[in-house]
Amino acid sequence: MSVAQTAPRAAAAEPGKGAGRKIGYGLLYIALAAVAVLQILPLVWLLFFSLKNNQEVFDSPPLSLPTHWRWENYEKVWTQGNIGVYFFNSVWLTVVSTALTVLIASLVTFAVTRMKWKASKLVLGLFMVGLMIPVHSALIPLFSVFQNLHLIDRPPSLILTYVAFNMPITIMIMLGFYTSLPREVEEAAVIDGCSVHRIFFRIVFPMTASVISTTAIINMIYNWNEFIFVNTFINSDKLKTLTVGVQNFVGQYTTDWGAIGATLMVSILPILIAFFVLSNRIVEGLAAGSVKG
């Protein structure tokens, strides 16, 4: 754009600049704060009603503080139901699946970026297209094959599917990091007669610690929140995870708002705590993960 064309407008905007700008910024801040409030408010409401009994929920204004903080709601859902079991299952399935995904993805990303082989482009393409394939389109055959292999209602069905379906996005994020990694150290190691495995495990793998933590966090969030596989493959209560467990549990308490609220709070608390501790990494990971597609 030319200076001549825009100069008059700039000059016209000059006089009232101070006050106008301040008001303008004030309005923008109000808009941004309003969005923040909208994002948080439902969760505040959830926290409040998790500490109330039904009478308080129904009779007092929705966003009023509980008159008496009923922590017994939490005690009740933790001791009466299987929440403890679901919680434990979520934790160990998330940890095992995440560790496997990150390790296996590291191996293949190393092979694709650091070794020369004919089919590497093709294999990479398979992973990239895998990003676009909906879980639901594979669900029926997975169910019937797992049934034939007697894996239905057993944890391996979940671990296998979690690892496979998170593999493409994990590789995608790692790829960017690996290609930006300097090669000098490895080349020196090759000249020194280092084996491939030593180079990977002793040199490259430790150097990728930051992308490993980013992808691990993304994987943990996905695995922790996964629903459809658990809902389809797992029947027995002792193997269910929090997402499906909460779903069933809430069904039993349709009329007890305090208990439902407490159950939901228990299920989201680990994620919220992780977020307060690791928010920078999570933001980074989600931004990196977005480039998929």
Binding site: P62, I104, L107, M132, P141
Partner: protein, 289 residues
Amino acid sequence: MSNKWAIALYVLPALLLVLGLIYIPIVMTGYYGLTEWNGIGAQKWIGFANYSTLLQDGIFWKSALHSLLLAVFSCVSLLLYLIVALILSGQIKGANVLRKIYLIPMLLSSVAIAQLWLKIFHPTNGVLNSVLVSLGIDNPPAWLADTSLVLYAIFIPILWQYAGFYILIYYAALKNIPSSLVEAARIDGASAWQIAFRIKLPLIMEVIKVTIVLAFVGSLKYFDLIYVMTDGGPNNSSEVIASYMYHQAFKSFDFGYGSAVGFFLLVVCLVATWLIRRATASKDSIQYS
């Protein structure tokens, strides 16, 4: 490094998992879709009969339309997210904290979100209708129980859930624009609007295209939230392709027909990705630096 065994060792675990659990199953879905099968007994080859039933299945078309509507809503809502990101990327103090706050709903499971919003939408005791009643509205809508409203009602938590994610992506892209370009425009006398629409938006066009694909294809796959909130009801008025597939296979035990629906979903997702890519592919991408 070109030791064949080493390569196989590093590549095969990932490759076998993805082939065995993603690619082979989708081929099987394609095959199952051509059979009549209750999931346990023998499969009976029926050719394209499932697909011709599909074409005349009113509920299927209804669910396909709902999926399409959600996809369109999602793409339109990107505009809203983009505006917030544009404001946020200006000289705003606390932008970093704000974008993190926006992101919180995105981290929660769809099940928890669905359960929470079931309570928010609760006709008598939900926070939404409590507020409406206190504002003097005597007969607030029944939201999720209202066949003409339910799909729009469901879209609100979706909007809420994904806001932070897309704002985050746009914000990161906008912050990547070299400040020298924006400064140069400002010195030339460009207004804030001109800077936003003539300089910033064209520069993040690639990211916008990616988010359109993500939002569109992502919405075609919506399942968890709808399954928990309404299970497709009332009267199929919030049924989407994925929930219809799930009902056919795991509730009605019509695995053949369910597979046909699942395969249709796959084809739609891949075609939509390809079409949007093509439609948004710029012939001459703008190079500013």
